[in-house]
């Protein structure tokens, strides 16, 4: 008897896969949870900003908008490649998948390099983690986002490895990896607006 409870028990307790959702149901659980966790960080940021808006605006002026804009384009482009990789995977085009994921990973690595460069610029100008409230949030939030990017590159590595091994689950794997990477992009897009552009 396939009642709603049986389905819940099957997925949540016995760990069955839910075939009706593109990619991995469990990855979506992770993504939604991570989005909520990050959403809480945004809310805490805004609450603290409310108490000292002039300080936040003044410190924000020291950020490098050019690098951040570039990074946004980089991440959007890599997401686009990953989306195309998912379609390629569904068509069974392994070569295209490998090519697209590798390119997306390359852009992800570029993001890391640009981000670290941006940090070095700020630190060399004397703005560090304990400088003021704004920079506290700036380094911590972009830092935890960077951790997500690095994890995403690891996931790409795993996906590429599995494809080379000819895994039977590769469509699901590519879709799950793609879902994660797009989440990283969504978080960044909002970080860009809230940290760099909000006046």
């Amino acid at each position: 008897m396939n009642t709603l409870w049986d389905r819940f028990e099957g997925v949540m307790v016995r760990g069955e896969e839910d075939d009706r959702i593109a990619g991995d149901f469990n990855m979506w659980v992770f993504v939604l949870g991570d989005l909520v966790i990050f959403g809480a960080y945004f809310v805490v940021f805004m609450v603290h900003r409310f108490h000292e808006p002039e300080l936040f605006r003044a410190s924000q002026g020291h950020l490098n908008l050019l690098i951040a804009t570039l990074n946004t384009i980089v991440l959007l482009t890599s997401s686009q490649l990953v989306a195309r990789a998912v379609h390629a995977a569904r068509q069974g085009d392994d070569a295209a998948v490998r090519r697209l994921i590798t390119q997306a990973g390359g852009l992800g690595a570029l993001f890391v390099v640009l981000k670290v460069t941006e940090w070095v610029i700020e630190i060399s100008r004397g703005y560090t983690l304990p400088s003021d409230e704004f920079f506290m949030f700036y380094f911590c939030l972009t830092g935890v986002h960077l951790l997500h990017v690095l994890l995403g590159l690891l996931i790409f590595g795993v996906v590429l490895h599995e494809i080379r091994q000819g895994s039977g689950r590769r469509v699901t794997l590519v879709e799950a990896g793609a879902t994660y990477w797009h989440m990283v992009d969504v978080i960044w897009v909002l970080l860009f607006a809230v940290l760099y552009l909000l006046r």
Binding site: N26, F30, G33, P130, E133, V144
Partner: protein, 250 residues
């Protein structure tokens, strides 16, 4: 008896799965785990009041008063912890044993144990000892009290490397496991834990705000998530005990 259907093929016809019969030692370990973590909660929250933590921005006078007003609770609570800390080892051992039933290398189970074993010292014992030392004499120098206070909370909240590694080891093992000992979503909850755990690193820098050891981000988000993870882990551990074949209990 519940009429759950098996989703993965049972290994051999003669073994009975989906029962706790014949697995008494595992059941006992599970109950010890439940009792230990329940005790942990009682010790750290109402008894010693280490949780939720008071702030790093308290004055010397406030800190002195905090210890003096809490002396009995601290001594009872943390002496009990000193005696009962073995429960943590058994809890770790149970989960690690279940990890040996996974299709992945046993190195994951061993790493699970060692990360928790190393983490137990800074994670709770050092804080407990610092507090016990703080209330040992009635006339300890207030400046020393402040130092012990800082040591306790910095280690309690700021010890994150071992636990982050522990969650990573657990997550990777569960994701690779073909035997389905734990459901995959638990691995993802463990990865959330890594995220919130890493954001405890700033506690060594900030004396107030969301990234202080009592902060919304560095303490609360991580601790609430830990409660969810631990509850799920303990519940799913029981399910795993039920589902495993008896002959695997060596």
């Amino acid at each position: 008896m519940s009429a759950t259907t098996e989703t993965r093929p049972a290994p051999a016809a003669a073994t009975s799965t989906d029962t706790l019969e014949g697995k008494r030692d595992l059941s006992i370990c599970w109950w010890i785990t439940v009792v230990f973590y329940g005790l942990f909660g009682v010790i750290f929250v109402p008894l010693t009041r280490l949780m939720p933590p008071p702030g790093p921005d308290m004055s010397t006078a406030q800190i002195t008063e905090y210890f003096q007003g809490n002396r009995t609770g601290i001594q009872i609570g943390f002496v009990v912890l000193m005696v009962a800390i073995g429960g943590a080892a058994i809890a770790a051992g149970l989960i690690a044993y279940q990890m040996t039933l996974m299709s992945v290398s046993k190195i994951y189970a061993y790493s699970y144990i060692t990360t928790l074993a190393v983490g137990a010292l800074p994670g709770c014992l050092l804080g407990a000892l610092a507090f016990l030392a703080a209330v040992f004499r009635a006339d300890t120098d207030p400046e020393v009290l402040v130092l012990l206070y800082d040591v306790a909370f910095l280690t309690f909240v700021g010890s994150l490397g071992c636990f982050a590694t522990n969650y990573l080891v657990f997550a990777v093992a569960v994701l690779q496991d073909r035997n389905g000992i734990f459901p995959r979503w638990l691995a993802y909850v463990a990865i959330w834990q890594i995220v919130t755990e890493v954001l405890a690193a700033p506690v060594f820098v900030f004396r107030s705000g969301p990234f202080a050891w009592n902060g919304v981000i560095s303490f609360w988000e991580g601790t609430i998530l830990f409660g969810i993870f631990l509850g799920a882990l303990i519940r799913l551990s029981r399910t795993a005990i039920r589902r495993q074949p008896i002959e695997a209990v060596a």
